[in-house]
Amino acid sequence: MRMKKFINDPKHLVPELLEGFALAFPDKVRLNGTSTIVRATPKASGKVRLVTLGGSGHEPGLSGFVGRGMLDASVAGEIFAAPGAVKCIEAIRNACTGGESALLIVLNHAGDVLAANIAMQAAEREGLNVKMVLTQEDISSPEGDRRGLVGCVGVYKVAGAAAEKGAPLDACFEVAQRMERNMRTLAVAMRTATHPATGQPIFELGDDEIEIGMGQHGEAGTGRMKLKTADETADIMLEKLLADLKVTEGEGLLVLLNGAGATTLMELYLIFRRVAQVLQARKIKLVRSAIGEFITTQEQAGFQMMIARMDKELIELWDAPADTPSFARL
């Protein structure tokens, strides 16, 4: 697959994309330094700040979730590469300037975790009040070392709402962890994407194949199979997710479908229809839903299916107002 994108010099890709993004949403975000996106209007003082970090190339994630009700800062790295630890330390320091506390939300990927750990060590040395939450909900990776996928958006939302309400750091941390523990994601890939800096396809997949269990950067999973219908695909994925999360009759779920970049909303609606049917048949309550592109992988065809067991408080936090470029509710 040859790369065909609207792009300038790949060396300046990340600064240019962040510049464009900040210019497009000046009422919500601004660019701090070379590659940290922060809220245009800082949160009221005393409230817990939410910081995240991760590679670029997954737009709108992660910086698209900076704004009222969700993140305060997002440190962006190069395409698919974690940002340097120094920038992460600076973002945390800046978040805590008024003596505030911060919650660092990190997706489980090698580079991200290394940078985050170094940043947390520095934060500790400097006496800053920071706690870290690691998201690791991808059921296709081995337990104990699961990849963080689109589930982080759920954590940003509920912890962000708690922080906006004025909850202290421990409470925000607890809510974040509760969401993290109760969410599971599974990805399916249908067609590769090209890496914008190298121009190369990210992975190989046969014309008539799909792979269930693909990582966020096209890492091969183990569920390679011939193309299935929307219903069959939804059945396979939902079954695995429900089993892994041990969902029982009567429980309430949030279901989020995250398009990888090239899969149409049309297809996601078909998938969702089947999910809703299965849940009804199993007497599991579909309490909330979200469909869209939250964390993409360039022009990859495929999607992630995320389910989260929601209690009354998590639902309230999910429903709370938010105003970010990529997730908003009144």
Binding site: E78, K87, L114, H195, Q200, A220
Partner: protein, 203 residues
């Protein structure tokens, strides 16, 4: 010394990226290029009084590069070196202590060991070989040659391994058969150090 290492890595950028395609997304060469640019720049700054300070600063400069795990590990190693070095950089024993300090700093950040198919497969043997040579009273250039050799062998050995760390760790058998990109970079780094020191000796 760093300029020579940087040059080698620049020349092999495509190879490094190709190796990274097996288990990663093919950008290791580009990441190392950014890392080496930063490192070379930091090491040639004149403003530091001691080698300690220069290494610490260089290490932290590397930690500001967006190079994922690669720059995080390398930056930690170099900054860690700055914790131990005393005196002149051409003192073999002190450089050995410095390398050891760098490695200790890295070991605080990762549990990866030789055999896991990572940078550690080249870094650990290199540091150990240098230390052994230094203890035997070898010159700095000779010790670096042993280190470079050990790093090269370590990187070669990763061909037969399955990745246990990094994003390749989910791929199992698919990762066997080609060398780890990170270990290859480390081997190139030490090869560069060695070549530069040999040149110095000869002039």
């Amino acid at each position: 010394m760093f300029a020579e290492a940087a040059g080698r890595i620049r020349r092999e950028q495509e190879l490094l990226s190709e190796l990274d395609c097996v288990g990663g997304d093919g950008d290791h060469g580009a990441a190392m290029l950014r890392t080496m640019d930063m490192l070379e720049c930091a090491m040639t700054q004149d403003c530091h009084e001691t080698l300690n300070a220069r290494l610490k600063d260089a290490g932290w400069s590397v930690l500001s590069v967006d190079g994922g795990a690669s720059s995080a590990i390398l930056g930690t190693f170099i900054a860690g070196m700055g914790d131990a070095v005393m005196g002149h950089e051409s003192d073999c024993t002190h450089l050995a202590l410095s390398f050891a300090a760098g490695l200790r700093a890295v070991e605080k950040q990762t549990k990866a060991k030789p055999g896991d198919k990572t940078m550690m497969d080249a870094l650990v043997p290199a540091v150990q070989a240098f230390a052994t040579a230094a203890n035997s009273g070898e010159s700095i250039a000779h010790a670096m040659e042993y280190a470079s050799d050990a790093a090269r062998k370590g990187a070669e050995a990763t061909k037969g391994m399955i990745a246990k760390y990094g994003r390749a760790r989910y791929l199992g058998e698919k990762t066997r058969g080609s060398a780890d990109a990170g270990a290859t970079s480390i081997a190139l780094l030490f090869r560069g150090f060695s070549a530069a020191l040999k040149q110095d000796e000869e002039t």
